[in-house]
Amino acid sequence: MSKVLIIAEHDGTALNPSTAKCVACASALPDAEIHVAVLHSNGADVAAAASGIAGVAKVVQIDHESSEHAVAAAIAPQVVSIAADYSHLFGPSTTFGKDLMPRIAALLGVNQISDVMSVLGSHSFQRPIYAGNAIVTLEAPAGLPVVATVRTASYRAAGSGNNAGIEVVSVDAEIPAHTRFVGLQAGKSDRPDLQTASKVVSGGRALGSAENFDIIYQLADALGAGVGASRAAVDAGYVPNEMQVGQTGKIIAPELYVAIGISGAIQHLTGIKDAGTIVAINKDADAPIFEVADIGLVADLFKVVPELQAALD
């Protein structure tokens, strides 16, 4: 039997959808009993939300003042203190999980399986390497805990309607004070969140400037879409890094992805390969983005994007 502990990602009030995707991944393990750990200073609301995820057997609520913000150095020892009860510890492949889970793995003395995209057995998984140019099948060592991050774009969130029991646990762990949260400057946007949006419009280097990126925002608003960008556009300073889609940014799986002025470097393509429909607009007919696009339009983006927006309004 696999006994799985999923570390919930949340902001103190709401559960991040990445948690239900981890549950979906863990449900693919043979004979899995799934617990979700909620670590916060007062995690009651988040624990209640986690107990509603289909497939969860129990929520473990660990309240500690040091967990007010998700500081890996403070959370990892608390998770480790209850890890002996579990065969598997999963977290999402978001910046939260990427930061936290390797710290847990190291404290447990094991390597981590990063970006699980497919579960083949209790200790056998598939994950992408080389920006998705290769898929490797892995076998974790028997008899050791399996620590993994889940590639959230590979999974649909587990359903709701459950009412799993919530156990409030106090842990005995030495929690360091050497790392202190100061503040969070969240990108203020009324647009759908890039990571969970069903439609995403992204712009690339061909936009040419931060000002020109406005036409991407306008098209996104006409579509009700989230906004992303290629690494080249981030690198050029047109948009902030949290909008980066690709190997070194966000891996997303919207129903509709519109790539505008993006050539389609492999490191970008790896971030969108699970998208439902990919539309590419680029004036270079040989751009690699057209190799993966479901619908291509070879044209000057500055001419056709406003046209497209007008057609949608």
Partner: protein, 249 residues
């Protein structure tokens, strides 16, 4: 602080599109261009800037790899590092073993800061920095886009999914570099000549007496499933028609 330790990994150059070997035993990297992992270059650039501001005395670059990895360490020296350490291992090591090796280097060198790239673009594991910080019992400031040192503390801006997070950490600590931390300098020819004279320690991995972690076995490699090539439309009305047809707008 006296020293900053920077990790440099030798990886397939980011412009190379690797292919899976037809027998599924790995990826074919014979004869392809190898480079310093791009994020490690950013890590080194940050260390050099800290030293140039007078906030650190020495920048040491270290790598784990075979003899050929000396090329990347020499490039690091040409960028401006003061000396290099090669932990010589013909076989690649897993992230936990790499973290243990770096912990041993930390114990030997006692740096005030270790800066690594946030991820290596070959295995995309994103583990080593966090693991080193855990084993060392020190702070980890991952995905850093700004580093401001202040005595025995540092203020770090981190690139997280929702935006920018600010944290304060006590030193010594591990920082992992994100894309926008800085733009690495180009190496000039005279620097390459000078780098040949800088010290490069070549230490066999066994000599460090680091316990190897139990590796995760790689059973099989496959190419990713290709997406089907789609249709090309002539103009915006045609595009709108296809999107409507698919129920997407």
């Amino acid at each position: 602080m006296d020293k900053i330790l920077v990790g440099l990994k030798r990886v397939v150059d980011y412009n190379v599109r690797v292919r899976v070997r037809s027998d599924g035993t790995g990826v074919d990297i014979d004869g392809v261009k190898m480079s310093i992992n791009p994020f490690d270059e950013i890590a080194l650039e940050e260390a050099l800037r800290i030293r140039e501001r007078g906030e650190a005395g020495e920048v040491i670059v270290a790598s784990i790899g075979g003899d050929e990895t000396q090329q990347q360490l020499r490039t690091g020296l040409a960028m401006g590092a003061d000396r290099a350490i090669l932990v010589n291992s013909a076989e690649p090591v897993d992230p936990l073993t790499a973290a243990r090796v770096f912990l041993e280097l930390v114990n030997r060198e006692q740096p005030g800061l270790v800066i690594l790239g946030k991820q290596a673009i070959d295995n995309d594991n994103i583990q080593t920095g966090q693991m080193l910080a855990a084993l060392w019992g020190r702070p980890q400031a991952t995905f850093a886009s700004e580093v401001v040192l202040d005595g025995d503390k540092a203020s770090i801006t981190r690139e997280v999914d929702v935006g920018l997070e600010s944290i304060e950490i006590d030193l010594p600590a591990v920082i992992t570099a994100d894309l926008r931390l800085n733009e690495p300098r180009y190496v000039k020819l005279p620097d390459i000549m000078k780098a040949k004279k800088k010290p490069l320690d070549n230490i066999p991995l066994q000599e460090l007496e680091v316990e190897s972690a139990t590796p995760i076995r790689e059973l099989k490699f496959e190419p990713p499933e290709d997406r089907q090539k789609g249709v090309v439309v002539e103009d915006v009305p045609a595009l709108v028609a296809v999107l409507k047809d698919k129920g997407l707008i």
